[in-house]
């Protein structure tokens, strides 16, 4: 099966007064139709910028974007703004992190849903309204015939995120990008939203790209995982690869900082020491090396001087790290 969404050598940088911010630096990945890709990383790793670059939501007056974004055989970056706009909301849709602020506070949710339908399809108001009610019912909003006339402030956070999902899916897009869809929600609601997205994906066969820093979400939903750090992919593979056979010290750190039910309660969680680097002034060698606890094991101080390549350790499992196989094995055992 060929890739439905394929990103090749994506670079996104923002010229600012302080220097050029390299938000995404040579990122490549692909997702097959109907599959789920998770992009994992902490704040500032470039994952949201990647999503917005795919959606064409970055203002190209302020962002330099190069590379290719192939969606179903079309290069989105080579198309005009208007052509991409026509795909947006129709072939590809997006859900955002904060449902509290992602809906317009002054318009009824029904009107906002109908707007999404009518911009892409010539249908009557009453038909668009029917579709809006159907979409609300599909995402599990009770009494959608009445709720459709509510304003966003009359709904809870979980309900608003359901509305956002309904709005994203109302035109049956083939690609759905979810940018931290559960981060702003209560834990119980998080599980409901995750379940809802899985259910809808199973029903519609939508390709899903989920962006998160929450490895719990990833384990539940993803087929493939790309771990991002400082604008580049540092490890990518199947969900099992990343969970059970992680090799890059950053991934190890991420996993060690997540609480697990099977771990000893007296053990503390291990945070990754330090902060992500400034994207204006990146370290010369491996971008993670300043925070890496294993860099001393690589000879000649290569971690500080030489950028590692993203190389396959096993087929389909790519790692950007100077450690050799035995050292990676040892690192994994020391952290888990």
């Amino acid at each position: 099966m060929s890739a439905f969404l394929e990103v090749k050598d994506l670079h996104v940088s923002f010229p600012t007064g302080d220097g050029v911010v390299r938000a995404v630096d040579g990122l490549s990945f692909s997702v097959e139709k109907g599959k789920t890709l998770a992009i994992v990383g902490e704040s500032g790793s470039g994952k949201s910028v990647t999503a917005q670059a795919v959606m064409g939501l970055l203002n190209r007056n302020f962002a330099d974007i190069t590379g290719q974004v192939w969606l179903d055989g079309q290069d989105l970056l080579a198309m005009s703004d208007d052509q991409v706009r026509e795909l947006r909301g129709e072939s590809m849709a997006m859900i955002f992190q904060d449902p509290m602020s992602s809906l317009h506070p002054f318009y009824r949710i029904g009107d906002q849903l109908m707007e999404a339908v009518r911009i892409h399809h010539k249908v009557s108001k009453s038909e668009a309204r029917e579709r809006a009610i159907d979409a609300l019912r599909q995402v599990g909003i009770p009494a959608p015939e009445r709720r459709v006339d509510d304003y966003p402030h009359q709904l809870s956070g979980g309900m608003r995120q359901r509305v956002m999902i309904a709005m994203a899916l109302i035109n049956s897009p083939q690609l759905l990008i979810a940018d931290e869809p559960t981060t702003a929600l209560d834990v119980t609601v998080q599980a409901q939203i995750t379940e809802l997205m899985l259910k809808l994906q199973a029903e519609t066969g939508t390709t899903l790209m989920i962006i998160t820093h929450d490895l719990g979400v990833v384990a539940d939903m993803a087929d493939e995982v790309t771990v991002m750090y400082a604008g580049r992919a540092v490890e990518m593979g199947t969900t099992d690869d990343i969970y059970y056979r992680p090799e890059m010290p950053y991934t190890l750190g991420l996993l060690a900082s997540v609480p697990r039910l099977d771990s000893d309660l007296s053990e503390r969680l291990d945070p990754i020491p330090g902060n992500p680097p400034s994207l204006i002034n990146l370290p010369r060698g491996c971008v993670f090396s300043p925070r890496c606890t294993f860099k001393g094991e690589v000879a000649d101080n290569r971690c500080a001087t030489e950028r590692p390549e993203l190389l396959a350790s096993t087929p389909g499992h790519l790692v950007r790290c100077h450690l050799n196989a035995a050292q990676r094995q040892a690192a994994r055992e020391s952290t888990t």
């Binding site: 939501l57 026509e86 947006r88 129709e90 955002f96 602020s101 002054f106 707007e115 402030h153 956002m164």
Partner: protein
């Protein structure tokens, strides 16, 4: 919503009552002796005293205020016998120097002020908001800097300066327009427009500067909001995103300012009315100060302040129309 409106109107009426009392007391404290001012050329102590009684000035301030309120509702008669002057309800007072009820004087002057305010309002609101949006969309580029620079000039120049410069060049030097002479628009629409166009433009430039800056900052704020990204993610054309989503969300402070500015203009653009010899409330107030004619001053002050209070109410009610979250509060 209905209860809210009733409550707000009641509060407004109370406020108007309080305001009229304050204005009344303030003016009664002035050192000017109204009885003397209205006594005419042949002035003896007896006529002054007679005047004092006729005007009710021998009574306490509270009593005078009560009579004033009665006059508003029932009308009022000054003096007795054949020389008595009747001021029909609602009586805002009587100008003895002009021999006319204050309300009639104000109503005569209101159209000119109203037309001036209305025309300028439309111009500066449309112009200011349009330029503000334009500027926000080109933030940091030369178009933005030009608009902001010009608006700073418009913001800082005094109206009498712009007014006089415009009169000098347009009317005197280039003779593009005749000298301003106000007529009722139904009598001579052309002359009306020729008279009003310059004061409209001058006021528009002065006020548009503020609205350009306000709109720009509002737009820059709302354009960064999450729901704008949502609107774009839906595939809406940028023009719809800006008009329907961003501008609508940033409208509230613009409506507030516009409502109060409009009310302020209804109180008379004193300087411009004087410069362009428009027979409006502003020039009425100026001549009342110069004569001095206290009943007119009290009347104009009351009417002007009432406009502001009413505008406040209208603005608050408009909030509820713009922002559904206000409706429940």
């Amino acid at each position: 919503m209905g209860g809210y409106v009733v409550r707000r109107v009641l509060i407004m009426l109370l406020l108007l009552l309080l305001l009229s009392f304050t204005v009344f007391v303030l003016f009664s404290l002035l050192p000017a002796d109204v009885a003397r001012l209205t006594c005419g050329k042949i002035c003896t102590p007896e006529t002054i005293e007679a005047n004092r009684i006729r005007l009710g000035l021998d009574k306490s301030v509270i009593e005078q205020y009560w009579i004033f309120l009665q006059g508003l509702v029932l009308g009022r008669t000054y003096g007795q016998g054949p020389g008595a002057i009747v001021c029909n309800a609602p009586c805002l007072g009587y100008s003895f120097t002009r021999q006319e009820p204050v309300l009639k004087l104000i109503l005569d002057r209101l159209p000119a002020t109203l037309f001036l305010a209305l025309g300028a309002f439309v111009l500066f609101l449309i112009g200011g908001v349009a330029l503000g949006v334009y500027s926000a969309l080109r933030r940091g580029r030369w178009q933005d800097k030009t608009v902001m620079g010009i608006s700073l000039i418009g913001y800082s120049l005094p109206s009498f300066f712009i007014g006089l410069v415009v009169i000098y060049f347009v009317i005197i030097r280039w003779q593009l327009l005749p000298f301003p002479s106000y007529v009722n628009p139904w009598v001579d629409p052309l002359q009306f427009l020729q008279t009003m166009i310059l004061p409209w433009l001058v006021l528009a430039v002065l006020y548009a500067a503020f609205y350009t800056r306000l709109t720009r900052s509002q737009m820059l704020e709302t354009l960064n909001d999450d729901y704008i990204r949502t609107a774009r993610a839906k595939g809406l054309p940028e023009s719809v995103v800006i008009r329907k989503h961003a501008l609508r969300a940033g409208l509230t402070p613009i409506v507030t300012a516009a409502g109060l500015d409009f009310a302020g203009l209804l109180g008379g653009a004193i300087i411009l009315e004087t410069i362009f010899s428009l027979p409006g409330l502003g020039s009425l107030a100026v001549s009342a100060v110069l004569s001095p004619d206290l009943p007119i001053l009290v009347g104009v002050t009351l009417i002007t302040a009432s406009f502001i209070i009413i505008a406040n109410l209208v603005v608050d009610l408009l909030y509820a129309v713009i922002d559904p979250r206000v409706r429940l509060a």
